[in-house]
């Protein structure tokens, strides 16, 4: 050894018999390095475009949700351009977070202290642990009172996680719209939760009874009470997942206390 001229070194490696240990290690090493560089390069170069795509998709879905809310355009027109405000809410204290802003939310969520472990009884939506900080959208009327709250909700469906947004208005008592942000349910069956005709059923449904218990749910078959919507045929597990998701997030461990606070006028 002692000859470290790269070209001669390269040739001497190539000249080695294929089964020699040195060549095996050299080939494995070179292939790994080249592949690692290729993958890293693609990821790093394309990441900004991907992040932009994701943000645009969220924005587009939020806009669809807003477009489906009846009478929203009038509220927006009356409120003199006061658009939607984004608030990070701390679910532990049911108030707007003072330290965390939407811009720093992602960093804050990386901290496990901002997650609450859920016991199996509480965890009806199949979340495992709940994020304590949630970014919600509030729409204020001319008197500065909150007219509409748009809340992100999530749960475990039949094929994977379901992410949705629910808009609650009318003094935080009824649903104004429901939008499914992402899901992986069976096409043609559970995936029908994303169809406008099905989601429209939620509009105007009261979320809770007089005692404040969340009652909004997907029926088994046809809706029979004022709190229910028709089920999707052949998608029992998806229907149940939506029900559990709504009950969890509108309940005491979800946005229940926050909605109470909004009703009291704390926001």
């Amino acid at each position: 050894m002692g000859d470290w001229n790269p070209i001669r070194l390269w040739r001497s490696i190539l000249a080695l018999p294929n089964e020699s240990r040195t060549k095996t290690i050299a080939v494995a090493f070179l292939v790994s390095i080249i592949c690692a560089a290729m993958v890293t390069g693609a990821t790093v170069i394309l990441r900004p475009i991907q992040a932009q795509n994701r943000a645009m998709e969220q924005q587009a879905r939020l806009e669809t949700l807003l477009a489906e809310i009846p009478g929203l355009s009038e509220i927006l027109a009356n409120s003199e351009g006061s658009a939607l405000s984004t608030v990070v809410v701390d679910l532990r204290r049911a108030e707007a977070s003072t330290e965390v802003t939407p811009a720093t939310l992602e960093t804050a969520m990386a901290d496990t202290a901002n997650w609450t472990e859920l016991s199996p009884q509480e965890d009806i939506a199949g979340l495992g642990s709940r994020a304590d900080l949630k970014q919600i959208y509030l729409l204020r009327g001319p008197d500065d009172g909150v007219k509409l709250a748009i809340l992100p909700i999530s749960g475990t469906g039949y094929g994977g996680p379901i992410e949705a947004m629910i808009a609650i208005g009318d003094n935080m008592t009824t649903v104004s719209a429901l939008a499914i942000m992402s899901h992986s349910e069976t096409p043609g069956l559970g995936a029908r939760i994303d169809e406008p005709a099905w989601r429209q059923q939620f509009v105007g449904k009261p979320i809770a009874d007089e005692t404040g218990t969340p009652r909004l749910s997907v029926a088994r078959g046809r809706a029979t009470t004022e709190f229910e919507v028709d089920a999707i045929t052949g998608a029992t597990r998806t229907n149940n997942a939506i029900t559990r998701m709504l009950q969890f997030w509108l309940g005491p461990r979800g946005y229940g206390p926050t909605l109470d606070a909004i009703r009291r006028g704390d926001f």
């Binding site: 080939v27 292939v31 795509n53 998709e57 069976t186 096409p187």
Partner: protein
């Protein structure tokens, strides 16, 4: 001339899906719409051609003890790159294909071709063979994708072909077409059709059924 045979042979006569029954997992999963089937076909063909080219180039210096893992690393890296490109430039489609693009790495067609062809042939003919196999796979995916989209949604590439009842037409979509079993039925039918037209493809049965013995009494 030989290259032309290498290219056209796998399209019908040596089709990787219908003759060798390879890569049917993705053929079932991504064929609910024609657009998804076409995207998947393009991704697979691109990965297959690139992997065959690279592996064929380094084939003389590939120690046989680590041959398989090196091939898998190359295929998997190419798949990640293709997946990242899809996520950046065809975001909506990548959302619909979800994990199935990443699963090209485990598609038997890819490893089957690199292992049995690219390891023993020059880069040009390996890439031609890869392209032919990619096209053969694409052909089957596109056929199944078209049938499933046409009868499941009444559309082709999103354009309405059979007006559905919901839109005031006459066609009642068949939800079965959107579920995985329908792809099995269609694939089975296709294999049957091709083997009836080309009896050479029929496999000789490996086992013979023993005639049932008469039970006395």
């Amino acid at each position: 001339m030989k290259l032309w045979t290498t290219l056209t042979e796998p399209i019908l006569r040596q089709n990787p899906v219908t003759l060798q029954i390879l890569g049917i997992c993705s053929a079932l999963a991504v064929t609910t719409t024609l657009a998804a089937a076409i995207t998947m076909s393009l991704c697979l063909t691109a990965v297959l051609v690139a992997a065959s080219g690279i592996i064929s180039t380094i084939r003389k210096h590939l120690p046989s003890s680590i041959r398989l893992i090196v091939q898998i690393i190359i295929v998997a890296s190419l798949v990640i790159v293709v997946d990242q490109i899809l996520q950046a430039f065809f975001f909506e489609m990548s959302q619909r294909l979800s994990v199935y693009v990443s699963l090209i790495a485990t598609n038997c067609v890819v490893l089957g071709r690199t292992e049995s062809f690219a390891l023993h042939n020059k880069p040009l003919s390996s890439m031609t063979d890869a392209l032919g196999n990619g096209l053969g796979y694409s052909l089957i995916l596109i056929i199944i994708g078209s049938v499933r989209e046409l009868f499941g949604h009444g559309t082709l590439l999103g354009y309405s072909v059979l007006p559905t009842v919901e839109q005031g037409g006459w066609f009642e979509p068949l939800p079965l077409m959107l579920l995985a079993p329908s792809a099995f039925f269609l694939l089975g039918g296709l294999v049957w059709l091709i083997r009836s037209l080309m009896p050479k493809q029929v496999e000789t049965p490996e086992h013979k059924l023993v005639p049932a013995e008469e039970v006395p009494g």
